[in-house]
C-alpha cells in the first residue's frame, strides 16, 4: 500500500449522480412524500422537565371533529426491562420505548406524551391541546455535576451505577463509570517538569440539520407495515420499530427518502414508531412531521460535559503522563458518548502513562444522540488546550510539541488498540508547511491557534448488488442513505474495478426489502464500508464476466484476463472484447450478470486532523472573528476529493459554531429558551472566511483503495484551536464552551 497507485476513476471529481435532482427541487425528501387518504399526526409534548404522569384523558380530543386516532404509551407493548441489541450496542428497551411515548414519568421538556392523527395538521395540533394530562411536577436536574450529587433528585428509581463491571446497591443518576489505564500515571507525573491541570465545561449543542424529522406510515390488513422517512439508516429504523412495537421485522419495510442532513441525529427513532402506531390504529396512512421547536426539544442533541484534564511534560517537551475525568450528560436515559470521548482524548499522542475516567450521567434534558465524532470534540477541547499551554510554558512551538509526541504505527492507545499505519504526523507536517502557518500574525488582538483531533471510524455491515446492463453500464443497488455525495464515492469504487466511467454507474438507494442489510450512514463508514461492498460486488461481476468471455472463446477461465476495461485471451487465441461489448452478449452466454458484495470490515483505520486558525478578538463586544482557517486531514485515499473537502469544510464550520455560539440555554425549570434557529445561533456565511483544506493521503491498509472515513474528525479540533487562538490574541484561557461574547467579556473582565 505504500507506493502510489494509478487510478482512472478514484481521485477524480465526477458530478454526483443525484446532482440534477437536488438543484431542481425534484429530489424527494421525507416530508415531500404523498399518498392518497393521508392523515396528519401531531405529538403532544411535556411542558415540564421532570414530572410524574398522574393521568391522561383523551376523551375531549377524541370527540373533536376530524380526529381519527390518538395514541399514548398504553398503546405500546409493555417493555419488560429487557435489553435489545440494535447493532450499535445494547439498548435498554424500556428506556427506548419510554423515550417514544412517556409511560410513567416525563423526563424533559418536550418529551412525547401522546399523539393525534387527524384529517389535517391543524386539527391534529388543535386536538393535542384538548388532551388532559395531569402531572405531579418534580424538581429537575439540569447539570451533570448537580446530577452526580448524592442528594440530587433521581430520574430513574431503578438506575444503579455500573462501575468497572460492578453494580452499586443504591440508585443514582450516574449510569456508568468506565476507566482506561495505561502505565503508571503517578510515576509519569513525577517525571514531569511541568504539570498543568484545568477544568472545562461544554454546553449542550444540536446537530442542526435543516430538515426536521418526518415519518409516513402505512399499515395493511395483511400485517405489512411500510414507513417512508428521512433517516441515516433504514435498517436501523426497521430494527428499532420492530423492537419498540414488538412486531416481526420481516413485516416492516422502511423506505429511505432523501435526507436533509443528519450528523448522527437521524439514527435514533422518535416519530417513526408513533406514525406506525397511528397507522395501525386508524387503518390509514399517517404522516407525522416535527417543527423546529420539536426538533430542538424532542430529539437528541449532543451532551454538555464537565471535564478535568491534567498533563505533564519534561523540559524537552516529552509528555510523560495524562489524566482525564469526563462527566457527560446522557440526557433523560443512559447512553452518552462518554466512551468514544474517552477513546479519543489523548489518542493523537503516544503517552506512556494515562488514566481516563468517564461517567455517563442522566439529567432532565432530551436523551442525547450522536453528533459527528460524538464525545471526541468535548474531550479534545480539554486535552488540546492543555497541550497548548504545556507548549507555551516550555517555549516549544505548538505544532512541534505535537510532532514530538505524535502517535505512529505500533503505538498503543490508552483504551487498548495498537495503531496500524496512521497519518497523524503527516497532518501536523502539512499544517506546519502550509503558508498559513508562516504568515505574519502580529496585529493587536489577533491570535493564532492550532489543535488536532482523532476519530476511530467504524466498519459495520454493508451490502451492494450490481446489475449489468446490455449497454455496458451497471445499476448499483445500495442501502446507505446518501447525505453528502456517497452515491458518487461508492459508484466510483465499482467503476474503478470494471474499468468504466463513474457516469456508467446508476446508483440507487433502496428500501429494506430490496437490498442486503446495511448499517447506518454514520461513523464515517459509508464510503469506506459500502464502498468496500461495491468493490466486492464489482469483483464478483468481473469474475462472472471473465467466465462469460471464456465461454465465448471456448477457453479456460484462467486464460482470460481483464485490464483497462478489456477482456483478453492470454494463452493461445488472439481474442479481445471490451466490457461494453461483452455486456451485449450476456444473453447468449448464460443470461444476466448480477454481482453482489457484502462486508463487515474490521480495518476502518483511524482519521486524524490538525487545524490552524487565526482570530481577531473585539475586546469591546467580546466577538471573535475567524480570519483564516486551514484544516489538514488524513483521508487515506480521497475517492472524490471535492466531496472530501466538503466534509472537512462542513465539519470545521460546525466546530466553529460549537466553539463560539451554539448552546441550549435553559431556565431554572428546564425549559430551553432558545429553541429556534433565530436564537440557537448556527454559523451563517457572514460569520466565516473560506475554509482552506489540505488532504493528506496515508492509505488505510484495511481498504482496497486505502480509504479512511473523513466525515467526523474535522469537527473535533475547532473549539480547542479557537480557544488557543483567543489566548494568543488576548492572553486569556477560555475553558467554557461556547466562547460567546458574554463569556469572553467576563473572562477579559470587561463585564
Amino acid at each position: 500500500m505504500s507506493e502510489k497507485k494509478e487510478y482512472k476513476v478514484i481521485g477524480t471529481r465526477p458530478i454526483r449522480h443525484d446532482g440534477v435532482d437536488k438543484v431542481t427541487g425534484r429530489a424527494l425528501y421525507g416530508a415531500d412524500f404523498q399518498i392518497a387518504g393521508l392523515l396528519h399526526g401531531r405529538v403532544l409534548r411535556s411542558p415540564h422537565a421532570h414530572a410524574r404522569i398522574v393521568s391522561i384523558d383523551t376523551s375531549r380530543a377524541e370527540a373533536y371533529p376530524g380526529v381519527k386516532g390518538i395514541v399514548t404509551a398504553q398503546d405500546l407493548p409493555d417493555p419488560a426491562d429487557k435489553v435489545a441489541d440494535l447493532g450499535e450496542g445494547a439498548v435498554n428497551l424500556k428506556y427506548l420505548c419510554d423515550n417514544i411515548l412517556a409511560r410513567d414519568k416525563v423526563l424533559y421538556k418536550g418529551h412525547a406524551v401522546a399523539a393525534v392523527a387527524a384529517t389535517s395538521p391543524h386539527i391534529a395540533e388543535e386536538a393535542c391541546t384538548l388532551i388532559d394530562v395531569a402531572y405531579e411536577v418534580l424538581p429537575p436536574v439540569l447539570e451533570v455535576r448537580q446530577a452526580m450529587e448524592p442528594d440530587a433528585p433521581l430520574l430513574h428509581e431503578n438506575l444503579k451505577t455500573t462501575s468497572l463491571g460492578e453494580t452499586a446497591d443504591e440508585p443514582s443518576n450516574v449510569a456508568s463509570h468506565l476507566q482506561y489505564k495505561k502505565g503508571a500515571p503517578e510515576k509519569g507525573f513525577a517525571e514531569a517538569d511541568v504539570v498543568i491541570e484545568r477544568e472545562f465545561v461544554t454546553g449542550t449543542v444540536h446537530q442542526g440539520y435543516i430538515e426536521p424529522h418526518n415519518a409516513t406510515a402505512l399499515y395493511n390488513p395483511d400485517g405489512h407495515l411500510t414507513i417512508w422517512c428521512s433517516t441515516q439508516g433504514a435498517f436501523t429504523v426497521r430494527e428499532q420499530v420492530a423492537e419498540i412495537l414488538q412486531y416481526p421485522i420481516s413485516k416492516i419495510k422502511v423506505v429511505p427518502m432523501e435526507i436533509g442532513g443528519g450528523f448522527g441525529g437521524k439514527i435514533s427513532v422518535y416519530i417513526k414508531p408513533v406514525a406506525a402506531l397511528l397507522a395501525m390504529k386508524t387503518g390509514k396512512p399517517v404522516k407525522v412531521l416535527m417543527n423546529r421547536t420539536d426538533v430542538f426539544e424532542g430529539t437528541g442533541p449532543t451532551p454538555a460535559s464537565y471535564i478535568r484534564v491534567k498533563m505533564g511534560a519534561t523540559k524537552a517537551g516529552k509528555v510523560t503522563a495524562a489524566e482525564a475525568y469526563l462527566a457527560f450528560e446522557a440526557g433523560a436515559y443512559p447512553g452518552s458518548p462518554v466512551g468514544p470521548g474517552a477513546m479519543c482524548i489523548f489518542a493523537p499522542y503516544n503517552i506512556e502513562n494515562v488514566l481516563i475516567d468517564g461517567y455517563d450521567v442522566v439529567v432532565n434534558k432530551p436523551k442525547t444522540a450522536p453528533y459527528r465524532a460524538p464525545g471526541a470534540t468535548n474531550a479534545a477541547f480539554g486535552s488540546e488546550t492543555i497541550l497548548d499551554e504545556l507548549a507555551e510554558r516550555l517555549e516549544i512551538d505548538p505544532l512541534e510539541i505535537r510532532l514530538m509526541n505524535g502517535a505512529k504505527e505500533g503505538d498503543r492507545r490508552a483504551d487498548g488498540p495498537i495503531y496500524p499505519r496512521i497519518g497523524y504526523i503527516e497532518t501536523v507536517e502539512a499544517a506546519k508547511q502550509h503558508p498559513h502557518y508562516a504568515a505574519p500574525n502580529g496585529k493587536k488582538h489577533h491570535g493564532r491557534g492550532v489543535a488536532s483531533g482523532f476519530w476511530f471510524n467504524i466498519g459495520l455491515e454493508s451490502s451492494v448488488t450490481i446489475n449489468v446492463n446490455v449497454d455496458g453500464t451497471i445499476n448499483l443497488v445500495e442501502g446507505s442513505t446518501d447525505i453528502g455525495g456517497t452515491r458518487a464515492s461508492i459508484a466510483m469504487q465499482a467503476a474503478e474495478v470494471l474499468g468504466i466511467p463513474a457516469e456508467s454507474v446508476n446508483p440507487s438507494v433502496v428500501d429494506t426489502n430490496s437490498v442486503g442489510y446495511t448499517a447506518v450512514t454514520g461513523g464515517s463508514r459509508t464510503t469506506y464500508a459500502t464502498g468496500y461492498a461495491a468493490y466486492e460486488a464489482a469483483q464478483d461481476v468481473k469474475r462472472q464476466m471473465i467466465a462469460r468471455a471464456a465461454k465465448l472463446w471456448e477457453v479456460d477461465e484462467a486464460n482470460v484476463q481483464f485490464a483497462d476495461g478489456e477482456f483478453s485471451c492470454i494463452n493461445g487465441k488472439e481474442e479481445q472484447i471490451s466490457f461494453r461489448d461483452l455486456c451485449a452478449r450476456l444473453g447468449e452466454t448464460g443470461g444476466p450478470v448480477v454481482g453482489s458484495g457484502t462486508v463487515n470490515p474490521g480495518g476502518a483505520g483511524g482519521a486524524f486532523a490538525t487545524h490552524v486558525v487565526d482570530v481577531e478578538v473585539d475586546e469591546e463586544t467580546g466577538k471573535v472573528e475567524i480570519l483564516r482557517y486551514t484544516a489538514t486531514q488524513d483521508a487515506g485515499k480521497a475517492i472524490h476529493p471535492s466531496y472530501v473537502e466538503g466534509q472537512i469544510q462542513g465539519g470545521v464550520v460546525q466546530g466553529i459554531g460549537w466553539a463560539l455560539n451554539e448552546e441550549y440555554i435553559y431556565d431554572a425549570e428546564g425549559t430551553m429558551t432558545n429553541a429556534s434557529f433565530l436564537d440557537y445561533r448556527m454559523p451563517t456565511c457572514l460569520d466565516l472566511p473560506m475554509i482552506d483544506t489540505v488532504i493528506v493521503e496515508v492509505p488505510n491498509p484495511g481498504h482496497p483503495y486505502g480509504v479512511r472515513g473523513v466525515g467526523e474528525v474535522p469537527i473535533i479540533p475547532p473549539p480547542a484551536a479557537i480557544a488557543n487562538a483567543i489566548y494568543d490574541a488576548v492572553g486569556i484561557r477560555m475553558t467554557e464552551l461556547p466562547m460567546s461574547p458574554e463569556r469572553l467579556l467576563k473572562a477579559i473582565g470587561t463585564i
Partner: protein, 159 residues
C-alpha cells in the same frame, strides 16, 4: 375554515385556487399545488430553505400568507431550468459541490438567482451579506460561495 379564491402565477403557470387564509405561501406551493422542491426547515423565517421569488424579490415563503400572494408572479426552484437547460446557478452548484444533503439548496439557489438578476457584479463580501439569511449546515459555505461566484462570472461574461 372558509376558503378564499386566489389566483397565483407560479413558474409562468396560472393557478386558480381555493385556500384557507391561514395557509402560508409555502403550504400553498407544497401542499395545494404540489411543488415540493421548496423546503420547510423552520417555519419561522430563520433558515431560508423556503425562499422563493415573488415579483422579482427573494422572500421566505413561510412568512407570507398564500392569500396575500394573489395576483403575483412567483418563481420556485422548479421554475428555474428552462428548455431543459439548467440555470447557471444550478449548474455551478453541481459543478463545485455546493451542496451535500441538498435540503437548503433550493433556497440558496433561488436566493442567489434573485441576487444575480439584480446585479451579478458583487464582491465575495457582498455575496456573503446577501446570502446571510440562508443557513446551510453541511458545507461550511465555502463551496456555496464558490458556486455563486462562478455563476456570477458566467452571467457577467455572457450578458
Amino acid at each position: 375554515m372558509a376558503k378564499h379564491p386566489v389566483s397565483l402565477t407560479v413558474n409562468g403557470d396560472e393557478h386558480d385556487l381555493l385556500i384557507e387564509p391561514r395557509k402560508t405561501l409555502l403550504a400553498v406551493l407544497r401542499d395545494t399545488i404540489g411543488l415540493t422542491g421548496t423546503k420547510e426547515g423552520c417555519s419561522t423565517g430563520d433558515c431560508g430553505a423556503c425562499t422563493v421569488i415573488v415579483e422579482g424579490k427573494a422572500v421566505t415563503s413561510c412568512m407570507v400568507l398564500g392569500v396575500t400572494a394573489a395576483g403575483k408572479e412567483i418563481t420556485t426552484i422548479e421554475g428555474l431550468a428552462s428548455d431543459g437547460a439548467l440555470h447557471p446557478v444550478q449548474r455551478a452548484f453541481i459543478e463545485t459541490g455546493g451542496y451535500q444533503c441538498g435540503f437548503c439548496t433550493p433556497g440558496f439557489i433561488i436566493a442567489a438567482k434573485a441576487l444575480l438578476d439584480e446585479n451579478p457584479a458583487r464582491t465575495e463580501e457582498e455575496f456573503r451579506h446577501a446570502l446571510g439569511g440562508n443557513i446551510c449546515r453541511c458545507t461550511g459555505y465555502t463551496k456555496i460561495l464558490e458556486a455563486v461566484m462562478q455563476a456570477a462570472e458566467e452571467i457577467r461574461t455572457t450578458a
